[in-house]
């Protein structure tokens, strides 16, 4: 009952404070601007992708009669699908390639990163709703709560409240409840905007998956804000004046939200440098020509070929041995590419592990990762696109080479395929992976956040009780 009395008092105090109202309105305004920017960007990206995918189909069909392996060198492109929720959190999509060339012999990295064209401003912030949630809302919570205990201690009202029989626990619960209320009053309208934005501009993503992601985001940010609110209450209770509380909290905000993520990324890349592009190229070339440079593998393949067609000389076979050779180079290279890109992925994992390790210092780091993951804009989703594109490449190149083998006759080099073959080559399906595929990773990040929340709660509770005891003996 007493906690409710405190909540209604706090609400009244906030309503009376014109600064709180102004702060609230400006957050809502920035949020709306961010949503507008985000939705616009996502729509543009999606329009670009759809147009490029359609043109790729047309260009492919329109290539005219040509040798199927020549076509495999012209090849097709896979374009990365744009997740609906990237309008909320663009994550790292600006820094991940939007297209993969599905060319014969080689698995290429994704190319055309949007950030490459952004110019010198790219290193500043790109406005997005997630950015507002990750950076600005914690600052607002600090501004709202830094005086929670410190102000009452400074003014003596905390003591006054205690002489009226308010126990430390009642005060703490009251403060907590009113903090949750102000948190909800921020979170709910924001969620509503996001929901409306997502469902109005949605381009037919799976509704159940989308809902699951939205629920995940709601809880992630709920816990994230709760951590900051608890920290603010705790620090406020530790300080005897608004001044010290404000300063301590600002320092914490700067360290935890602004510096820590960037520092973590820098440490990650200093400890585990980016993959060396020249080495990568060399490895890719080695794999590409691996079969050609491996006489043993060639001999074995030749023996198999002869046996398959029941002949003793390749010239006697009804098909061109060279077409089989092309198929062989792909089959030889594919597992090697898998192996090499797995090694690169290990590197990425090592970098991400370093970053995650630094989550000890900042709840913002796991939140950024979790949020971009739930929005479908993180590296896991990118890796899924890469894997899907590669799968498509292998199917496509195999189909082209097989056409050469089965229809090309004895001198397949002179055989030209046409639109009838081009039409049978499937488009990259551009489906979004469902959240379930990455669940374990995200659960781990969410676990870290919950640990933070638990620690923040214990800290706040301890500090609040301590403040009451200190006030009593002052």
């Amino acid at each position: 009952m007493s906690a409710a009395v405190i909540v209604s008092k706090e609400a009244l105090v906030s309503r009376r404070n014109s600064k709180v109202i102004a702060l609230y309105l400006s957050v809502v305004f920035v949020m709306l601007a961010a949503i507008a920017v985000g939705v616009n960007r996502t729509n543009n990206f999606e329009a670009e992708r759809a147009a490029a995918a359609q043109r790729d189909r047309d260009i492919w069909n329109d290539q005219g009669p040509r040798n199927a392996h020549k076509a495999a060198h012209f090849a097709r492109y896979a374009f990365k699908p744009i997740p609906t929720l990237s309008s909320f959190d663009p994550g790292s999509i600006d820094y991940a390639g939007q297209a993969v060339w599905l060319v014969a012999h080689v698995q290429n990295p994704a190319e055309f990163r949007y950030a490459e064209g952004q110019g010198d401003l790219a290193r500043f912030v790109t406005l997005s709703p997630a950015w507002v949630m990750q950076y600005i809302v914690p600052l607002v919570l600090i501004l709202l709560l830094f005086g929670a205990y410190a102000g009452e201690r400074e003014d003596g009202t905390l003591r006054q409240a205690m002489t009226h029989g308010a126990a430390p626990g009642v005060l703490f619960r009251g403060k907590l409840a009113s903090a949750s209320l102000s948190l909800l009053s921020l979170l709910l309208p924001i969620s509503l905007f996001v929901l409306v934005a997502v469902f109005v501009f949605d381009k037919g993503a799976s509704q159940s998956d989308l809902s699951l992601r939205l629920v995940g985001l709601f809880f992630t940010y709920g816990v994230y804000f709760a951590i900051y609110a608890l920290l603010a209450i705790g620090v406020s209770a530790l300080c005897s004046s608004r001044r010290t509380a404000a300063i301590c909290l600002f320092v914490m905000w700067c360290m935890m939200t602004v510096l820590a993520p960037r520092f973590a990324a820098d440490v990650a890349v200093t400890a585990t440098p980016h993959p060396n592009g020249v080495d990568a190229l060399k490895t890719i070339q080695d794999i590409r020509f691996g079969y050609m440079n491996n006489p043993e593998a060639q001999e074995q393949r030749k023996a198999e070929f002869l046996e398959r067609y029941g002949v003793t000389k390749v010239e006697d076979a009804p098909v061109d041995f060279r077409s089989d050779f092309l198929l062989a180079t792909e089959e030889y290279g594919n597992p090697l590419f898998d192996e090499y890109y797995a090694k690169i992925a290990d590197r990425y994992h090592a970098q991400e592990r370093s970053m995650q390790l630094l989550s000890v210092f900042s709840p913002t780091i796991p939140t950024i990762n979790l949020s971009s993951g739930l929005a479908g804009a993180d590296r896991y989703h990118h890796a899924d696109f890469i894997a899907g594109a590669e799968e498509n490449r292998r199917v496509t190149i195999r189909q082209l080479n097989e056409d050469l083998l089965y229809k090309g006759g004895k001198n397949a080099i002179l055989y030209e395929s046409d639109i009838n073959l081009w039409r049978t080559i499937r488009d990259y399906p551009a489906t979004m992976p469902s959240l379930g595929e990455f669940f374990p990773q995200y659960l781990k990040m969410f676990g870290i956040l919950l640990l933070w929340a638990g620690a923040a709660f214990l800290f706040a509770r301890w500090a609040a009780y301590r403040a009451c005891n200190l006030e009593a003996v002052k």
């Binding site: 043109r55 012209f74 500043f124 001044r243 980016h274 990425y348 970053m355």
Partner: protein
């Protein structure tokens, strides 16, 4: 009196654990930033040398084949060996003297080109983009980040309460009973505190500059100029705010808000504005155009070859498949270059217009000015990377012009002709042109600072 103020301030700083922590953090964080940049630069330079060595080795092999062929003359090498169509020259966006202080765009954009008639302007860019997007998206903690983002926060942390505590404690009246103005007291204290911090940041900066040896001297001086102008802006902004705001928590709140505005909000808005006014032309559309051109070239290569041979009957050679190979490749590449010229021009134009817009827009926020200037001095700005790609395309055209006749007539060039071919080295902008680019923005920072100080004194007189 002023001396006494400074002495007292130094004593107070020595006794304040918070101030000492801020100073220590300044030193450690800036040294880390320099160190991390140096590590990156070594990694990056090693990759560039590796690239150059690979191309050089391939060309040396090519040259030796040619030398052997010229010597024997009798026994020609296999058809594809030592052909002019296979000539390749490396071109690299090398690290400028101070590139380790501002990694900027060099981490993101291509820095290695293979200039060869066998390539078009897309395929001449060596395979890149193997970086982890998550890490890239966060950006680097290099010295430019430290100076643009972190340093102002540290300055604020050290000096927001330069006078407010005296106001609340009541010692202010005591101080003012001496013959000295409030503005001067604040100024003397502020300069003592921030001066110490800037000295430490400057020390790290100088250590960073020293890594480049004598080549870093002139750019180093420019870097320090930007550093000083930007720091001065923040010191004056703090002076201005504490002159008007009485309570320290309000002062720190206002200053942090100012920081959010200057380093986060305004650049974000500027970014959105730039994107809204001059949207990036779709790179994917560009890709589609290039591929359409390739298709067209392929379809018409016979007609093209025929037309070319009509004009140059002296170059007609046998129509064997081998002869066809380099010629078709060359025609295709040339056609791709021609067909995509409009969209390349449009991209260039859009980049140029965005750059020009930014020339104006940067005055919205001192953080944009500082970061752009740091990037410019370090040679990691967007314009430099764009110029690199443009010069790469020019180099390709130059090399094509040299080799066109030989490729189309399916003849080899002589070793002597090979030696005469140009090498393509990218030169970073000279310091005087860098100075010309950053001078006005830096002056703007200085003038803003002067105004802030004047208004601050006016505020104190009230």
């Amino acid at each position: 009196m002023r001396q006494a103020l400074v002495k007292l301030e130094l004593l107070r700083l020595r006794k304040s654990p918070v101030a000492l922590a801020v100073l220590l953090f300044t030193l450690l964080a800036s040294l880390y930033a320099v160190w991390s940049g140096v590590i990156w630069r070594e990694h990056h330079s090693a990759i560039l040398s590796q690239h150059e060595a690979r191309v050089d080795a391939a060309m040396e092999k090519w040259r030796q084949t040619l030398i052997a062929f010229e010597k024997d003359g009798v026994k020609p090498p296999p058809f594809f060996d030592a052909r002019p169509g296979a000539i390749e020259k490396s071109m690299a966006l090398g690290a400028a003297p101070l590139s380790h202080l501002a990694i900027g765009n060099t981490e993101l954009l291509p820095t290695r080109l293979n200039v060869s008639p066998a390539r078009d302007h897309i395929t001449m860019v060596e395979l890149y983009g193997f970086e982890n997007p998550t890490v890239l998206a966060h950006g680097r903690f290099d010295l430019s980040f430290f100076l643009v983002f972190v340093l102002p926060l540290l300055l604020i942390g050290l000096s927001f309460d330069v006078i407010a505590t005296d106001r609340t404690r009541g010692t202010l009246h005591l101080l003012l009973s001496y013959p000295v103005s409030l503005g001067k007291i604040i100024a003397a204290r502020l300069l003592t505190r921030t001066g110490l911090l800037l000295l430490l940041a400057g020390l790290s900066t100088c250590i960073g500059i020293a890594f480049s040896g004598s080549a870093g001297l002139v750019p180093g001086a420019l870097w320090l100029l930007v550093f000083l102008a930007y720091s001065l802006f923040w010191v004056s902004a703090i002076f201005f705010v504490v002159s008007f705001v009485k309570r320290s928590e309000v002062a720190v709140g206002s200053l942090v808000s100012l920081w959010v505005l200057v380093t986060l909000a305004l650049p974000a808005l500027a970014n959105s504005a730039a994107e809204g006014l001059y949207p990036q032309p779709s790179k994917l559309a560009y890709l589609s155009d290039a591929r359409t051109a390739k298709n067209e070239a392929w379809k018409h290569k016979d007609a093209l070859t025929r037309q070319f041979l009509d004009d140059h009957p002296e170059l007609s050679v046998g129509q064997g498949m081998e002869n066809e190979y380099f010629r078709a490749m060359y025609f295709t590449n040339k056609m791709v270059l021609e067909k995509t010229a409009p969209i390349v021009a449009a991209l260039d134009d859009s980049n140029r217009r965005r750059s020009e817009l930014l020339d104006t827009l940067q005055f919205v926020s001192p953080a944009i000015i500082a970061q752009r200037a740091f990037f410019r001095v370090a040679g990691s700005d967007f314009d430099t990377t764009q110029r690199f790609t443009r010069e790469g395309i020019d180099a390709l055209s130059a090399l094509n012009n040299e080799l066109e006749t030989a490729i189309l007539s399916s003849t080899r060039i002589s070793v002597e002709e090979y030696h005469k071919l140009p090498d393509f080295k990218f030169e970073h902008a000279r310091s005087n042109s860098v100075l010309a680019d950053i001078l006005f923005p830096v002056l703007f920072l200085l003038i803003t600072s002067v105004f802030l100080v004047i208004f601050g004194f006016a505020g104190n007189r009230k």
